[in-house]
Symmetry: C2
DNA sequence: GTGTACATGTAATCCGTTACATGATTCC
DNA sequence: GGAATCATGTAACGGATTACATGTACAC
């Protein structure tokens, strides 16, 4: 087996999604990314997904076929992972160096600049962040429940439970920080 | 006051660092970013910092002066925030829309693809991640202790305590996940 | 008939990194 | 003398986004 090509992580994420399914369109992948990858990675834009799909196909990691609807007009293209693609993805998971986790927390960046901020602004920002974390937690929980039904989703399910706890913690830590900032101003 | 220019978050982060200090060189800023921003945002490369400094100066948000060492040979350039820069940064903190937090967790991405992974690989990855989180926690704690001494660092101090709890949680959640994965394979 | 979802793709642009280039200073 | 740190910057490149362009299907 030749060494798998050097590809950006996004490509492996897309290929990884394909490895969980039979056949998906670019549109499907975007929708699915919004509801799964989104929790712990990030959801690439449509244009990025279409570009990665072409690249994956060029490398022989995916195949596609054009599909027309019953009325024969509307076209779409369905992608599936190939054996070579599965091998490459497996190799990537098992052997590629693991990139450091990236955290870009613009709420904390603003709190770090609290000496420039109006106290109420910091409270509002944190309140909004608490809502965001709670929404994400709920969504992840619903997804985790969905995954629990199917043994094929054991790993995604475990990761989704990690996400539930992660957003729970995110919510609680924001509450703590809000309380702490209230004692400052 | 004219509206502050549209700048990437990195520019505001650099300007924010300048707002915490008297005068800093690009090199100083990079070193400082590695030990503060790094915990909750990310540390731009040297070249990025130098580029942002030039842009900030162009906008009148920072000034610089060349400094030569006692022997008169070695040169460096020290940057300071201007009044306009402080006003712009304040406006950004108080009024710019807050970007959604970005999380790109490549460890979780690989766990999500656990059906492709060797069980031992997942254990190793998580063990390494636990070490990473613990190291970050310790570093953040040391920094938070340092900040506690000075009332000027109240906000950075509060954020650093948030970081300590965040990395603590990150460590614990990775342990939980490792235990859960062990029951799967 | 209007808005929403389905469906794909191009072009322009920007953010940011890596590699490269250069050279002084300080500590061992 | 050699390594690590201080110190700045350019050039090439790539990853990714936004805006734009286009059109169908379906529900209300």
């Amino acid at each position: 087996m030749t060494d798998p090509a050097e590809l950006p992580t996004t490509a492996w994420a897309v290929l990884g999604m394909l490895s969980h399914a039979e056949e998906l369109s670019g549109y499907d992948l975007k929708k699915w990314a919004d509801w799964s990858l989104q929790f712990f990675y990030w959801s690439p834009s449509f244009s990025q997904i279409y570009a990665e799909l072409k690249r994956l196909e060029k490398h022989g990691y995916a195949t596609s076929r054009a599909v027309r609807s019953a009325d024969g007009v509307r076209g779409k293209r369905m992608y599936a992972i190939t054996a070579a693609g599965r091998a490459a993805a497996t190799h990537w998971v098992n052997h590629a160096p693991v990139e450091a986790p990236v955290l870009k927390h613009s709420v904390m960046l603003r709190a770090w600049l609290g000496h420039l901020a109006a106290p109420q602004r910091l409270r509002d920002m944190l309140a909004q962040h608490i809502d965001y974390a709670e929404t994400m937690r709920r969504r992840a929980e619903a997804d985790a429940d969905g995954a629990a039904a199917n043994p094929d989703w054991a790993y995604p399910g475990a990761v989704l439970r990690w996400c539930v706890r992660h957003y729970e913690s995110e919510r609680d830590l924001a509450r703590d920080l809000m309380a702490e900032l209230d004692t400052l101003s």
